[in-house]
Subunit: 167 residues, 2 copies
C-alpha cells in the first residue's frame, strides 16, 4: 500500500524511500566533509578546488569561461564570482580571447598548479577513505555505473549547443 494509484502521484516504495534518504544523508555529509578538509588544507571549498582540477587537465591549463562552467556543472554567474576569488589568490588568471572579443580564458597559474599538487594527496586520501575503502569491488563498480546513469539523465548528453540546465 505504498506504490501507485493509477496515474496519480505515485509515491516511493519503502525501499526507495530508504535509499533516497541514505543518498541525501551521504551526499550531505560527504560534501560537508570535503569542504572542511579542503578549506582547512587548501583554503578553498570543494567547488573551487574542482575548478582548478579541471583547468589543470585542459590543454595549456586554460579554458574559456563557458567551457569551464559546463565541465564543472556550474552556472556562468557562479563561475564569474569563483574565478574572481581564485584570481585574488593568484591561482587563476584571466586572459582575453583573441578570436572573440567577448571571450575570456581562465588560466591556471603556476602558483595555482602548485597548490594543487600540494593538496591533491590529502584530498584523494579523504575521498578514498570516505568511499572506496569502504566498498567492495562490485560496489565500486556499481557506484560508477549508477552515477553515470544519473548524471546522463540530468544533463542532455548531446548538449553543447543548447544548455537548458545552464539556466
Amino acid at each position: 500500500m505504498n506504490t501507485a494509484s493509477a496515474d496519480g502521484p505515485r509515491w516511493l516504495t519503502d525501499e526507495e524511500q530508504r535509499t533516497w534518504r541514505a543518498y541525501v544523508h551521504a551526499s550531505t555529509l560527504l560534501e560537508d566533509h570535503l569542504d572542511r578538509q579542503l578549506q582547512r588544507d587548501a583554503g578553498m571549498p570543494h567547488v573551487y578546488y574542482h575548478l582548478l582540477v579541471v583547468l589543470s587537465e585542459a590543454p595549456h591549463r586554460r579554458l574559456r569561461m563557458t567551457e569551464l562552467a559546463m565541465r564543472a556543472k556550474i552556472t556562468r554567474s557562479r563561475l564569474s564570482h569563483a574565478v574572481a576569488r581564485l584570481e585574488k589568490n593568484g591561482w587563476v588568471r584571466r586572459e582575453d580571447c583573441p578570436s572573440d572579443k567577448r571571450g575570456q580564458f581562465a588560466v591556471l597559474t603556476d602558483q595555482g598548479h602548485e597548490v594543487l599538487t600540494q593538496t591533491a594527496p590529502g584530498h584523494v586520501r579523504a575521498v578514498r577513505q570516505a568511499i572506496f575503502e569502504r566498498l567492495s569491488p562490485q560496489q565500486r563498480e556499481s557506484l560508477g555505473e549508477i552515477m553515470e546513469i544519473i548524471a546522463e539523465g540530468l544533463q542532455p548528453k548531446d548538449a553543447g549547443a543548447d544548455l537548458p540546465w545552464l539556466r
Copy 2:
C-alpha cells in the same frame, strides 16, 4: 602505474577516478535540479524542504533544534537561520521547551504541512525520474547499500552524545 607507492600518496585507479568524477557530476546536477524544482514549486531550496519533511515525521510534528539539526545533517547555526526564514513563511513555529529553558522546539505549522502535501508529489516525481526510473532493480538495491555505508562512515553511528561532525 597508478595505484600505490609503498605508503606515499596513493592515487586513485583510473576506474576510481572515473567513478568519483561521475559521482561529483551526478550529485551536483541532482542537487541543482531539485533546488530549482522546489524553489519553483514550493518556494524553498531542497534543504529547507527536507527540514519540513523531517518535522512532519516527528511526533507532534515537533523537534528540538539540536535533534532536528542532527537528523537533517546540518549545523545548528545553519538551522537557526533556516528556521528563522521558514518562520517568516509561516511554515514553522518556535516554542519554548518547558523542561529546559535553553531549549527550543521547531514545530511544523498546519500551513507548513499543507505546503508539504501540495508539493510532495512533484518532488517525488522529480526524484523518481532522476534516479529510480533509470536504474535496474539491482542498481536500486546497490545504491541504497552503498549510500548507507558512506553515510555511516562519515558519521559516527554511535553518536548522540558527541558530534564532532556538527562542528
